[in-house]
């Protein structure tokens, strides 16, 4: 366990050297926050409530979600798949540590950095212009727990997607499709309460709502203390299912590995 905590710590240090990339990312998240916020506010000119969200909830959702995108790593990076494609993965597999836990450490290290440097600034800029909802201390704590679980769910999905490199050679198409689906169904483009009822049900029945929609709903105080265990249970169940799926896929994949050369 100490090893993986150390991996997370080193990843944090590595990512924190790319300062201008962070500034550029914050700028982009903020621009998207503004565009989406105005689009949703136009909806609230027509009606006062959408699926239990008022205008302040919706705009708050947009800025919290923009801040969480990088925390969850909801973009199609190919860090794990690249090592499979080049054959370097064989070195990783020979070492005395768990491949999946190593990459989980990387994900949590990144998440910790991004939650501070990519999560907070768009929200602060948004709050200068729009009326945003701040959580009560209790909800803030509940939100932090929910985000930590969401990072695990997103990691489980990322690991599975990138393992497809064992079968596909060029993983980018599958990867992009996988993250687009995740972004859309998790509410990254539009809170899922804006979906038609059937699509919202589909989204809530899949792991994607656990990545983004549920944590932000916790922030907004949509759940009281009695409901929270149910939210966490869903997130944990999906996290465990995806991680076990990843372990199973890996156990299948290692039987296929052929490394060229000697």
């Amino acid at each position: 366990m100490r090893l993986y905590v150390e991996v997370a710590r080193r990843t944090y240090a590595r990512i924190s050297t790319y300062r201008s990339a962070t500034v550029a990312g914050v700028f982009t998240n903020t621009v998207f926050g503004f565009l989406l916020a105005y689009i949703l506010l136009a909806v609230y000119d027509e009606r006062g409530d959408v699926g239990g969200f008022d205008a302040i909830d919706a705009v708050t959702f947009v800025f919290v979600a923009q801040g969480l995108l990088m925390v969850l790593g909801m973009f199609d990076d190919t860090e794990i798949a690249d090592r499979i494609r080049t054959g370097d993965v064989i070195v990783d597999l020979q070492r005395p540590y768990d491949h999946q836990a190593w990459w989980a450490g990387v994900s949590y290290g990144k998440a910790l950095y991004y939650v501070v440097f990519r999560g907070v600034p768009p929200f602060v800029v948004g709050a200068l212009v729009f009326h945003l909802r701040l959580p009560s201390p209790g909800n803030a704590l509940a939100f932090a727990v929910s985000v930590a679980l969401a990072v695990g769910v997103a990691f489980g999905w990322r690991y599975l997607l990138q393992l497809s490199a064992f079968w596909l050679l060029d993983v980018r198409g599958a990867n992009q499709l996988g993250w687009l689906t995740a972004q859309f169904l998790s509410g990254a483009f539009l809170p899922i309460v804006f979906f038609p009822g059937w699509l919202e049900s589909v989204s809530r029945a899949l792991p994607f709502a656990s990545m983004l929609q549920l944590p932000v709903e916790v922030w907004l105080g949509q759940y009281d203390a009695g409901d929270l265990p149910w939210v966490y249970a869903q997130q944990i169940a999906w996290g465990v299912a995806l991680v076990l799926g990843g372990r199973y896929a890996m156990s299948r994949a290692v039987r296929r590995v052929v490394v060229q050369g000697g």
Partner: protein, 266 residues
């Protein structure tokens, strides 16, 4: 013209190369189509909650969506590869493009050409055709001409935005995400009536990053609606001139950027 021949050859080679990995090609084509479909699903979801947005009906917003999506897809297919300049500068391989007897921009965009991006054009094209039938357009010869001019101009404007924002990479290499705010953000902004944005954003989209000319002004004229910011209806016909100005500006910025280039290689 000779460069165009080279471009065709390079693009042909890229298409044949991609075709070797057929599963990946189709998955990628599918995912590119899915990108556009999800943008549409967002609009459709919004209109499942309301009948109009900032006074625009669903059919009218669909027209904006098509007029924005088709040029964005065409620019994505042909020129968005300029994004990779950032990667080449970091790796020191940008020199390669400067050493060839073909304009660097042409060579760069051809060598990274990917036919799968056509998926970005197909879906908005379908929406555009449907919107042209359903939306209350006052059809005349002028409307048809405006439509064609708008599609070409929109492609040039999006392409210029891509070139200008990607040129930032010559000064700060870790800046790719800033470009995304203008290209993908621009695609989002142009898919909706600009009336719903704050006044300063409408001014920005009209005068500084002229994305309002891609879809909004032409669509407003085709639908016989009033233009915003007190502009006359004929502002729609400024579109081709804005496109030409954008291309000239992009050329100048690109030339300046390439002159500024210092290689990391040795």
């Amino acid at each position: 013209m000779a460069s165009l021949g080279v471009w065709r050859h390079l693009v042909g080679a890229r298409i044949r190369a991609d075709w070797q990995y057929r599963t990946s090609f189709f998955l990628f084509l599918l995912s590119q189509t899915a990108v556009a479909c999800m943008d549409l699903a967002v609009v459709a979801s919004i209109f499942s909650q309301v009948d109009s947005l900032a006074g625009w009906s669903g059919a009218e917003v669909a027209l904006l969506f098509g007029l924005s999506g088709v040029p964005f897809g065409l620019a994505d297919l042909t020129i968005s590869q300029v994004e990779s300049a950032s990667r080449h500068i970091k790796a020191g391989t940008f020199d390669l493009f400067l050493l060839r007897p073909v304009p660097a921009l042409l060579h760069l965009s051809a060598s990274e050409f990917a036919l799968r991006r056509a998926g970005r054009v197909l879906q908005p094209a379908v929406v555009l055709v449907i919107a042209l039938v359903v939306a209350p357009i006052d059809w005349s010869v002028e409307t048809v001409a405006l439509l064609l001019v708008t599609l070409v101009s929109g492609t040039l404007i999006f392409g210029s935005v891509w070139v200008v924002t990607s040129s930032i990479a010559f000064w700060t290499v870790e800046s790719q995400e800033v470009a995304n705010a203008f290209t993908y953000g621009g695609s989002l902004a142009t898919s909706y009536p600009i009336d719903l944005f704050a006044t300063w954003m409408r001014r920005l989209l009209t005068f500084l990053v002229p994305l309002a000319f891609v879809a909004y002004f032409p669509a407003a004229r085709m639908l016989g609606r009033d233009q915003p910011l007190g502009l006359p209806s004929s502002v729609a016909w400024a579109t081709p001139f804005v496109a030409i100005a954008s291309v000239l500006a992009a050329r100048a910025v690109w030339a300046l950027a390439v002159r500024h280039h210092r290689s990391t290689g040795s």
